[in-house]
Protein backbone atom coordinates (compact mmCIF):
# COMPACT_ATOMS: atom_id res chain seq x y z
CA UNK A 1 0.00 0.00 0.00
CA UNK A 2 1.42 3.38 -0.96
CA UNK A 3 2.37 5.98 1.66
CA UNK A 4 -0.14 8.78 2.19
CA UNK A 5 0.57 11.98 4.09
CA UNK A 6 -1.53 12.75 7.14
CA UNK A 7 -4.43 15.08 6.38
CA UNK A 8 -4.19 17.53 9.31
CA UNK A 9 -6.75 19.90 7.79
CA UNK A 10 -9.59 17.37 7.88
CA UNK A 11 -12.42 17.97 5.42
CA UNK A 12 -10.98 21.34 4.34
CA UNK A 13 -7.77 19.58 3.40
CA UNK A 14 -9.87 17.50 1.05
CA UNK A 15 -12.00 20.32 -0.38
CA UNK A 16 -9.82 23.44 -0.08
CA UNK A 17 -8.04 24.80 -3.14
CA UNK A 18 -5.10 26.46 -1.38
CA UNK A 19 -2.45 27.87 -3.70
CA UNK A 20 -3.64 25.64 -6.55
CA UNK A 21 -6.84 27.70 -6.84
CA UNK A 22 -9.34 26.88 -9.58
CA UNK A 23 -7.66 23.62 -10.65
CA UNK A 24 -7.91 22.20 -7.14
CA UNK A 25 -11.60 23.17 -6.84
CA UNK A 26 -12.21 21.55 -10.24
CA UNK A 27 -10.54 18.44 -8.82
CA UNK A 28 -12.74 18.50 -5.68
CA UNK A 29 -15.84 18.94 -7.85
CA UNK A 30 -14.64 16.06 -10.02
CA UNK A 31 -14.64 13.82 -6.96
CA UNK A 32 -18.00 15.04 -5.68
CA UNK A 33 -19.57 14.49 -9.10
CA UNK A 34 -17.97 11.05 -9.17
CA UNK A 35 -19.53 10.13 -5.82
CA UNK A 36 -22.93 11.32 -7.07
CA UNK A 37 -22.61 9.26 -10.25
CA UNK A 38 -21.51 6.20 -8.24
CA UNK A 39 -24.53 6.48 -5.90
CA UNK A 40 -26.86 6.73 -8.90
CA UNK A 41 -25.08 3.90 -10.72
CA UNK A 42 -25.45 1.47 -7.81
CA UNK A 43 -29.18 2.24 -7.67
CA UNK A 44 -29.40 2.01 -11.47
CA UNK A 45 -28.05 -1.57 -11.41
CA UNK A 46 -31.00 -2.68 -9.28
CA UNK A 47 -33.58 -0.64 -11.21
CA UNK A 48 -32.49 -2.14 -14.54
CA UNK A 49 -32.45 -5.52 -12.79
CA UNK A 50 -36.26 -5.41 -12.73
CA UNK A 51 -36.15 -6.39 -16.43
CA UNK A 52 -35.63 -9.97 -15.28
CA UNK A 53 -39.23 -10.00 -14.00
CA UNK A 54 -40.62 -8.98 -17.38
CA UNK A 55 -42.07 -5.87 -19.05
CA UNK A 56 -44.72 -5.29 -16.35
CA UNK A 57 -42.06 -5.02 -13.63
CA UNK A 58 -40.04 -2.65 -15.81
CA UNK A 59 -43.08 -0.45 -16.53
CA UNK A 60 -43.89 -0.41 -12.82
CA UNK A 61 -40.33 0.69 -11.95
CA UNK A 62 -40.40 3.42 -14.61
CA UNK A 63 -43.81 4.60 -13.34
CA UNK A 64 -42.36 4.92 -9.83
CA UNK A 65 -39.62 7.28 -11.12
CA UNK A 66 -42.01 9.43 -13.15
CA UNK A 67 -42.17 12.40 -10.80
CA UNK A 68 -40.45 15.81 -10.87
CA UNK A 69 -38.15 15.03 -7.93
CA UNK A 70 -36.60 11.97 -9.59
CA UNK A 71 -36.54 13.81 -12.92
CA UNK A 72 -34.53 16.61 -11.30
CA UNK A 73 -32.22 14.07 -9.65
CA UNK A 74 -31.70 12.34 -13.00
CA UNK A 75 -30.86 15.67 -14.61
CA UNK A 76 -28.33 16.49 -11.86
CA UNK A 77 -26.67 13.11 -12.42
CA UNK A 78 -26.58 13.91 -16.12
CA UNK A 79 -24.85 17.24 -15.40
CA UNK A 80 -22.41 15.43 -13.09
CA UNK A 81 -21.64 12.99 -15.90
CA UNK A 82 -20.94 15.78 -18.41
CA UNK A 83 -18.64 17.60 -16.00
CA UNK A 84 -16.91 14.41 -14.84
CA UNK A 85 -16.34 13.27 -18.44
CA UNK A 86 -14.91 16.53 -19.81
CA UNK A 87 -12.83 17.32 -16.75
CA UNK A 88 -11.75 13.67 -16.65
CA UNK A 89 -10.31 13.95 -20.17
CA UNK A 90 -8.30 16.97 -18.98
CA UNK A 91 -7.06 15.08 -15.90
CA UNK A 92 -6.02 12.06 -17.98
CA UNK A 93 -4.05 14.34 -20.34
CA UNK A 94 -2.34 15.96 -17.33
CA UNK A 95 -1.68 12.55 -15.78
CA UNK A 96 0.00 11.41 -19.01
CA UNK A 97 2.19 14.53 -18.92
CA UNK A 98 0.80 15.97 -22.15
CA UNK A 99 -0.17 19.36 -20.70
CA UNK A 100 2.66 20.12 -18.29
CA UNK A 101 5.08 21.52 -20.87
CA UNK A 102 8.80 21.00 -21.24
CA UNK A 103 11.17 21.68 -18.35
CA UNK A 104 13.07 24.97 -18.59
CA UNK A 105 15.23 27.40 -16.61
CA UNK A 106 13.43 29.18 -13.75
CA UNK A 107 13.66 32.65 -15.27
CA UNK A 108 11.41 35.56 -14.24
CA UNK A 109 8.40 35.84 -14.69
CA UNK A 110 8.18 32.33 -13.31
CA UNK A 111 5.88 29.86 -15.00
CA UNK A 112 4.75 26.57 -13.58
CA UNK A 113 2.62 23.68 -14.77
CA UNK A 114 -0.55 24.86 -13.02
CA UNK A 115 -0.41 28.18 -14.91
CA UNK A 116 0.40 26.42 -18.19
CA UNK A 117 -2.60 24.11 -17.73
CA UNK A 118 -5.04 26.90 -16.81
CA UNK A 119 -6.21 27.60 -20.42
CA UNK A 120 -7.06 23.90 -20.80
CA UNK A 121 -9.24 24.12 -17.68
CA UNK A 122 -11.05 27.13 -19.15
CA UNK A 123 -11.59 25.32 -22.47
CA UNK A 124 -12.85 22.21 -20.61
CA UNK A 125 -15.35 24.31 -18.65
CA UNK A 126 -16.57 26.06 -21.82
CA UNK A 127 -17.07 22.66 -23.53
CA UNK A 128 -18.96 21.44 -20.46
CA UNK A 129 -21.21 24.53 -20.51
CA UNK A 130 -22.01 24.09 -24.22
CA UNK A 131 -22.81 20.39 -23.70
CA UNK A 132 -24.99 21.24 -20.69
CA UNK A 133 -26.97 23.74 -22.79
CA UNK A 134 -27.43 21.35 -25.72
CA UNK A 135 -28.11 18.19 -23.78
CA UNK A 136 -30.01 19.98 -21.02
CA UNK A 137 -32.51 21.39 -23.55
CA UNK A 138 -32.99 17.91 -25.00
CA UNK A 139 -33.19 16.25 -21.58
CA UNK A 140 -35.61 18.73 -20.00
CA UNK A 141 -37.82 19.88 -22.86
CA UNK A 142 -37.59 17.59 -25.86
CA UNK A 143 -37.27 13.97 -24.66
CA UNK A 144 -40.49 12.71 -23.05
Amino acid sequence: MQHRYKNNLGLWGWLGGGRYGADRYAYALHRLSGLGILAYFLMHIFVTGTRVDGPEAWESAMHFFENPLFRLGEFLVFLAFLYHAVNGIRLVLVELGLLVGKPGLPSYPYSHSVIRQRPVLVVAMVITAVLVLFAGADFLFLTK
Binding site: R4, T48, G49, E59, F81, D138, L142
Partner: protein, 123 residues
Amino acid sequence: MRESRLWFWHILTAVVILFLLGLHMGIMHMGTLVQALGLGSTHPTASAEVFERSRQFFFMITYIALLGTALFHGLYGFRSILCELSLSKTLQKAIGRLCTAAGFALFLYGTYVAVRVFQMKGV
Protein backbone atom coordinates in the same frame (compact mmCIF):
# COMPACT_ATOMS: atom_id res chain seq x y z
CA MET B 1 -2.14 -5.73 -6.95
CA ARG B 2 0.27 -2.80 -6.91
CA GLU B 3 -1.26 0.64 -6.49
CA SER B 4 0.34 1.96 -9.69
CA ARG B 5 -1.23 -0.87 -11.68
CA LEU B 6 -4.66 -0.21 -10.15
CA TRP B 7 -4.24 3.48 -11.03
CA PHE B 8 -3.38 2.54 -14.62
CA TRP B 9 -6.59 0.47 -14.83
CA HIS B 10 -8.50 3.38 -13.30
CA ILE B 11 -7.41 5.62 -16.21
CA LEU B 12 -7.90 2.92 -18.84
CA THR B 13 -11.46 2.19 -17.66
CA ALA B 14 -12.16 5.96 -17.76
CA VAL B 15 -11.43 5.98 -21.50
CA VAL B 16 -13.64 2.92 -22.10
CA ILE B 17 -16.45 4.42 -19.98
CA LEU B 18 -16.23 7.65 -21.93
CA PHE B 19 -17.22 5.81 -25.12
CA LEU B 20 -19.73 3.35 -23.63
CA LEU B 21 -21.46 5.79 -21.28
CA GLY B 22 -21.42 8.43 -24.02
CA LEU B 23 -23.29 5.94 -26.23
CA HIS B 24 -25.67 5.09 -23.38
CA MET B 25 -26.36 8.75 -22.52
CA GLY B 26 -26.82 9.61 -26.19
CA ILE B 27 -29.45 6.90 -26.65
CA MET B 28 -31.21 7.32 -23.31
CA HIS B 29 -31.05 11.02 -22.54
CA MET B 30 -30.50 12.88 -25.79
CA GLY B 31 -33.19 11.07 -27.75
CA THR B 32 -34.38 14.00 -29.83
CA LEU B 33 -30.91 15.03 -30.95
CA VAL B 34 -29.90 11.43 -31.63
CA GLN B 35 -33.10 10.77 -33.57
CA ALA B 36 -32.44 13.87 -35.66
CA LEU B 37 -29.29 12.05 -36.80
CA GLY B 38 -31.42 8.99 -37.61
CA LEU B 39 -29.82 6.87 -34.88
CA GLY B 40 -32.24 6.58 -32.00
CA SER B 41 -35.68 6.92 -30.52
CA THR B 42 -37.59 9.52 -28.52
CA HIS B 43 -38.99 6.81 -26.20
CA PRO B 44 -35.86 4.91 -25.15
CA THR B 45 -37.27 3.74 -21.78
CA ALA B 46 -40.50 2.36 -23.27
CA SER B 47 -40.80 -1.32 -22.38
CA ALA B 48 -40.87 -2.59 -25.98
CA GLU B 49 -37.72 -0.68 -26.93
CA VAL B 50 -35.85 -1.60 -23.74
CA PHE B 51 -36.47 -5.31 -24.28
CA GLU B 52 -35.74 -5.09 -27.99
CA ARG B 53 -32.31 -3.57 -27.24
CA SER B 54 -31.68 -6.02 -24.41
CA ARG B 55 -32.14 -8.96 -26.79
CA GLN B 56 -29.46 -7.70 -29.16
CA PHE B 57 -26.01 -9.25 -28.69
CA PHE B 58 -24.24 -5.89 -29.18
CA PHE B 59 -26.17 -4.23 -26.37
CA MET B 60 -25.79 -7.21 -24.02
CA ILE B 61 -22.00 -7.10 -24.47
CA THR B 62 -21.82 -3.32 -24.07
CA TYR B 63 -24.01 -3.48 -20.93
CA ILE B 64 -21.67 -6.03 -19.33
CA ALA B 65 -18.55 -4.13 -20.43
CA LEU B 66 -19.94 -0.85 -19.09
CA LEU B 67 -20.99 -2.55 -15.85
CA GLY B 68 -17.52 -4.00 -15.24
CA THR B 69 -15.54 -0.91 -16.16
CA ALA B 70 -17.87 1.50 -14.31
CA LEU B 71 -17.85 -0.65 -11.17
CA PHE B 72 -14.05 -0.79 -11.11
CA HIS B 73 -13.62 2.90 -11.90
CA GLY B 74 -16.28 4.03 -9.41
CA LEU B 75 -15.36 1.77 -6.52
CA TYR B 76 -11.60 2.35 -6.90
CA GLY B 77 -12.26 6.11 -6.95
CA PHE B 78 -14.47 5.78 -3.86
CA ARG B 79 -11.77 3.78 -2.08
CA SER B 80 -9.10 6.35 -3.01
CA ILE B 81 -11.18 9.21 -1.60
CA LEU B 82 -11.76 7.36 1.67
CA CYS B 83 -8.08 6.37 1.99
CA GLU B 84 -7.06 10.05 1.78
CA LEU B 85 -8.88 10.76 5.04
CA SER B 86 -5.88 9.58 7.10
CA LEU B 87 -7.42 6.23 7.99
CA SER B 88 -5.41 3.47 9.64
CA LYS B 89 -3.80 0.85 7.38
CA THR B 90 -6.15 -1.81 8.77
CA LEU B 91 -9.19 0.26 7.89
CA GLN B 92 -7.78 1.03 4.43
CA LYS B 93 -7.34 -2.69 3.77
CA ALA B 94 -10.85 -3.43 5.05
CA ILE B 95 -12.32 -0.76 2.75
CA GLY B 96 -10.36 -2.18 -0.19
CA ARG B 97 -11.66 -5.69 0.46
CA LEU B 98 -15.22 -4.48 0.98
CA CYS B 99 -15.14 -2.54 -2.31
CA THR B 100 -13.70 -5.57 -4.12
CA ALA B 101 -16.38 -7.90 -2.72
CA ALA B 102 -19.18 -5.43 -3.49
CA GLY B 103 -17.82 -4.90 -7.01
CA PHE B 104 -17.72 -8.63 -7.79
CA ALA B 105 -21.19 -9.22 -6.32
CA LEU B 106 -22.74 -6.35 -8.32
CA PHE B 107 -20.92 -7.44 -11.48
CA LEU B 108 -22.27 -10.99 -11.13
CA TYR B 109 -25.80 -9.71 -10.50
CA GLY B 110 -25.70 -7.25 -13.42
CA THR B 111 -24.24 -9.85 -15.77
CA TYR B 112 -26.93 -12.34 -14.74
CA VAL B 113 -29.62 -9.74 -15.56
CA ALA B 114 -28.07 -8.85 -18.95
CA VAL B 115 -27.70 -12.51 -20.02
CA ARG B 116 -31.10 -13.56 -18.65
CA VAL B 117 -32.96 -10.76 -20.48
CA PHE B 118 -30.93 -11.44 -23.65
CA GLN B 119 -32.21 -15.04 -23.58
CA MET B 120 -35.87 -14.09 -22.94
CA LYS B 121 -38.25 -15.10 -25.69
CA GLY B 122 -41.70 -13.78 -26.58
CA VAL B 123 -41.43 -10.60 -24.49
